[in-house]
Subunit: 198 residues, 3 copies
């Protein structure tokens, strides 16, 4: 009996040795896991630098498309993209000379922007708009509304606002609008699976 | 004898306690692994929005360069990028008025596109082409052929086709060509290490 | 006594069985870990294809902003971006006819580039520059210096240099400047969290 037991115990002991090895292997795995650089969140971050109708449309088509697929979407409007979000019905005072000049020269909101090519004194732009209607492609107006409903976040670049003399009071009403610096955008971008500069 | 055995068993038992701890640690590791957001595939996804010769060339240089490095590459041609892939020798009928007009106004394929700058009534574009030949840089024609051989996937945007009235029958012969919506592209883009909007 | 021992041993044996199971589970976890695609490094890679003042400024604002957040930044100057880094005070000889022509026609460095829109024969560009000064936004000159101090890496595309006939001797003095091919850039880009084509 005792002999059988001893043999069994030896067997078991081998088992516990394996246990020790396992502990070592476990520590190795832990280290490996800690060293893995994790991937990004299921999010898309788009810099809308351009103020051309075709490019802004593309940005919204991509952003709303991404949200429809279950991703998050953030759009950062900067430079020529900034005036696209002005509300032509809103007026603000207290602008300096340069601010007034920019306010005058830059397009007054999304319905005043033009195609980057084939604008042909506005004819190409009108043609494209009527074509989009005919082919059931959402207009920029509808696209922005949809983006708001779908929860697309819109950031407006504070530096661009300052340069162009824009005030917070002259932008469109939008559910998820924030005025931020480039750092806030980059924080989102680096945790996103997709980033685009449009 | 029995006493020796008991002691041994106590030792072993400690071993199994370690076993229990290991099981707990194992479950922890499992949870950690499940929570890691995995990185993307070794792939590049390029949106070719522009139809300018210089930008389309850049897109192909990047895509073929990536494949030469062992990456996968996907190019999504949309908007002004779409007509670049027309085959000037192919003619399709059944277009409506707007489709005919776009067909007429947009460049007829890769040999009809121009530089985005310094085109100078075509002189800059010709100069660049002859220069590329002299410096042994592949032409767009050669680049597209090479891309096909290397397995670069080309997607053509269905919405752009619909807007511009293009039919599948008028695009170039290419081994890996598909007609897709923005969702199909985004699905690839979000699993890619690199994404560019050109 | 022996009976008690046997029971204990049976218990322990169960423990060692768990040990065996653990080994199997461990192997499973190992496989899972090996299959995880690791995420990218805390780095941003920017292709500066455009030579427009507004876009080059945006590229530097983003790159320096990223470094200020603790990220690495790499900028790859190609095509129209290349002449932006010329030093107007440096002259090199030994250029062929086309090289001289490009040298003459392309902007002579960062102070000669223009806005992509509203340049208005230079008036818009001057206006923007004076405005940036007034609003305490760093000029391109200051931005490049800051980028150098912060450790932003600058790559100049060898193929563009060859096409445009530029020599290494005519570029600006910059602490982290290298002349590379597209493969070197892609190697960095695919390990970066953010990539942009500007």
């Amino acid at each position: 009996m005792a002999e059988v037991l001893t043999t069994k115990i030896e067997e078991i002991k081998k088992g516990t040795m394996t246990g020790g090895d396992l502990a070592k292997q476990m520590a190795d795995l832990k280290r490996q896991i800690e060293n893995i650089k994790p991937g990004a969140e299921d999010k898309i971050s788009i810099i809308v630098f351009s103020g051309d109708l075709d490019k802004v449309l593309a940005a919204f088509i991509i952003a709303t498309g991404a949200v429809a697929m279950g991703m998050e979407a953030v759009m950062f409007f900067t430079f020529w993209g900034t005036p696209v979000l002005r509300d032509p019905k809103k007026r603000v005072g207290g602008k300096d000379f340069m601010g007034k000049m920019f306010g005058f020269m830059l397009p007054k909101g999304r319905n005043a922007i033009k195609l980057s090519k084939m604008n042909m004194a506005g004819m190409g732009t009108s043609m494209m708009k009527s074509l989009m209607k005919k082919k059931n492609v959402a207009s920029l107006d509808q696209m922005i509304e949809m983006a708001g409903e779908l929860g697309v976040k819109i950031y407006i670049c504070e530096m661009s606002m300052s340069l162009m003399g824009f005030k917070q009071g002259e932008f469109i009403d939008y559910p998820n609008l924030e005025y931020v610096g480039v750092a806030t955008f980059l924080e989102q971008a680096k945790n996103s699976k997709v980033q685009l500069f449009i």
